[in-house]
Each structure stands twice: as structure tokens, then as C-alpha cells.
Symmetry: C2
Subunit: 181 residues, 2 copies
């Protein structure tokens, strides 16, 4: 009888352990799936092929700028075809992608007063998806470090690091730039 009770208790413990293990496993799988789901849906994709898109305009940040240390150099903006439609019409359609490419500059070694493009600091991206990025004006924001297509510098900080400033351009669909002919 005592042995029987002991066995029952052991079986009971084993069953409880199995239940807990299963519960943990399910929790883990669900969590991981949700995590992948969030990653695949929210992460801004690298704007592959943007160097063949239309060159919108360029700017230069010189040594006198307080932002020189961080972004000094030459900057180019590129847009895909939908982005160009946005510049023309004032409303950027779903799928518009704007790229702001930040490069360092280097003095030319042979030609006095001539400056060349240097290493890439980072590539800043805006993607229009009104549903997915409803919280930030319909735009997703991201920055890719250096030449990396995976090293994301913004992630969940888009609302404070990007959108907070772009809200000033709400009347222009949150876009600062204009196409320079």
C-alpha cells in the first residue's frame, strides 16, 4: 500500500513535470514565433538597389556644423519610383522608399581644393506603410551602419530618434526634402 502510494506520487510528480515542461516548451515556441513575427513585420528592410534609384538632391555638412562629428561630409538622397511620385504629387504612395546616404569626405591628394567622397557613415531609410507604421505618420524609419545591410541603428527608437523631428513636416507628408531639378 505504502509502495503503491509512493508510486502514485512519483507518477503524479512525473506527470506534473511533463505538464510543466510542455507548458514551458509551448510558451517558448509561442514567444519565439511572436518574436520572429515581430522581427519580420516591423524591421525595415535594407533598400536593396537604391544606388540605381533617382538621385533627389545632395547636401554638405562642413566643419562649422555642430553635427560635423556625427554626420560631417556629403549626403545624397535617393527615391524609388513611388517615392518620386510622392515628390511630384506631395502625397507619398504606399511602398515609397526614401534613402538618405551619409558619406564622409576626403581632401583630394593631388588637386588643391578638391574634395572626394569617403567612407559611408550610415544609410538612413524611410518606408511608407500606413498600417504597419501608423504610430509614426505611416513611415517606418531605420539607419544601417556603414555599408552593413543588417546592422540597424534605430530599431524601436524611431518615434524619438526620427519621427519626433519629422512631425514638423506633417503638411508635407513628413518629408523634409524636395526633388532638385
Amino acid at each position: 500500500m505504502a509502495i503503491h502510494k509512493k508510486n502514485e506520487r512519483l507518477i503524479s510528480l512525473a506527470q506534473r513535470g511533463r505538464v510543466i515542461f510542455l507548458a514551458l516548451a509551448v510558451t517558448c515556441i509561442v514567444t519565439c514565433s511572436l518574436s520572429s513575427w515581430a522581427q519580420s513585420n516591423d524591421a525595415i528592410p535594407y533598400p536593396a538597389g537604391y544606388r540605381q534609384w533617382t538621385h533627389v538632391k545632395s547636401t554638405i555638412i562642413g566643419p562649422k556644423s555642430p553635427a560635423y562629428e556625427k554626420i560631417g561630409g556629403i549626403q545624397h538622397i535617393y527615391a524609388n519610383e513611388k517615392g518620386m511620385e510622392g515628390y511630384r504629387t506631395g502625397r507619398f504612395p504606399e511602398g515609397s522608399i526614401l534613402v538618405y546616404d551619409f558619406l564622409k569626405t576626403e581632401d583630394d591628394a593631388y588637386s588643391e581644393g578638391r574634395t572626394n567622397e569617403g567612407a559611408r557613415r550610415f544609410t538612413s531609410v524611410m518606408v511608407k506603410d500606413s498600417k504597419r507604421y501608423a504610430a509614426t505618420g505611416g513611415w517606418g524609419f531605420e539607419e544601417f551602419r556603414g555599408d552593413s545591410q543588417t546592422d540597424r541603428m534605430i530599431g524601436a527608437e524611431a518615434p524619438t530618434k526620427c519621427y519626433a523631428c519629422h512631425t514638423s513636416q506633417k503638411d508635407r507628408d513628413y518629408v523634409f526634402s524636395a526633388f532638385r531639378k
Copy 2:
């Protein structure tokens, strides 16, 4: 008889005059046609739509450059699809067009140290047509003043104003620039 002779002479003079007039007229028509032919065949066409072509690279010419007065500012190079094939392979196919766009720059009125693109100085063009421009390495050279699509600054002076310098790049199919990734 005298009257007859006089009439004969008058008719002869009239005929000679008509022949001379016809000869002059034909000469004029042929000359004008050759002139139009030369114009339509040799004049480098304005590179319509180049602002939508691929942006190859950019340079800056600052106040320390001896060429600042003439070309100071920011310069962008663009290439059509055949031109891009040339950058990839090292040999530019027939129909390649490269555009070197010279813009002035302006200090930003609100942001210290920031420089913006200004007015267009001129748009420099290279067109690959080995037969037509055989005398200048197979490339036709032209520059369009300001935003004009018809005010040509080079014309017949391409051999001295453009090609003379580009010959140094014969091994690179006479092209100085390279695509910046």
C-alpha cells in the same frame, strides 16, 4: 544680220546667266544641306532625362581650388544604362552617355556649416559613337550652359577643350570617373 547677231548674243548671255544662277542655286542648296546634315549629325544631343539616370559619384570644388571661379561648387556624374555597363566592364558600348553636372553651392541660411546645392553652372556630356566621333576617341563632348538644352559651349572645340585631357585615360576608354558604390 547685225540684229540677228545681237539677238543671238543676248540669248547666249541670258542662257549663261541662267546657267550661273542655277549653278549658284544648286551650290547654295547643297551647301545648306551639308550644313544642316553636319549640324544634325555632329551636334551632341542634350541628354534628356539624365536626372533619372544612375548617380555615379560626386565631387566638391572648394575656394582653395584654382578652378573655383569657373567650376566651384558640387558636381554629380550620371550615366545611362549603357554607360553603367561601361563602368562595370571597362569598355563603354555605343550609345553610352555620361553626364557631369556642375552646380554652384550656397550656405544654408538657417543651419551653420550646412551647404546646399545652388544654380546649375553647366552640364557636361560625353556620348559614345565610335564612327561619328572617331577623331576624339569615339566620344563626342559637349557642355550646355546653365539649364539650357540648346546653348552649346564647346561645339567644334572638343578636340582641344575636352579630348586633349581625356587622352590621358585612353586605357580606361577615355573616362576619368568610376562608379562609387
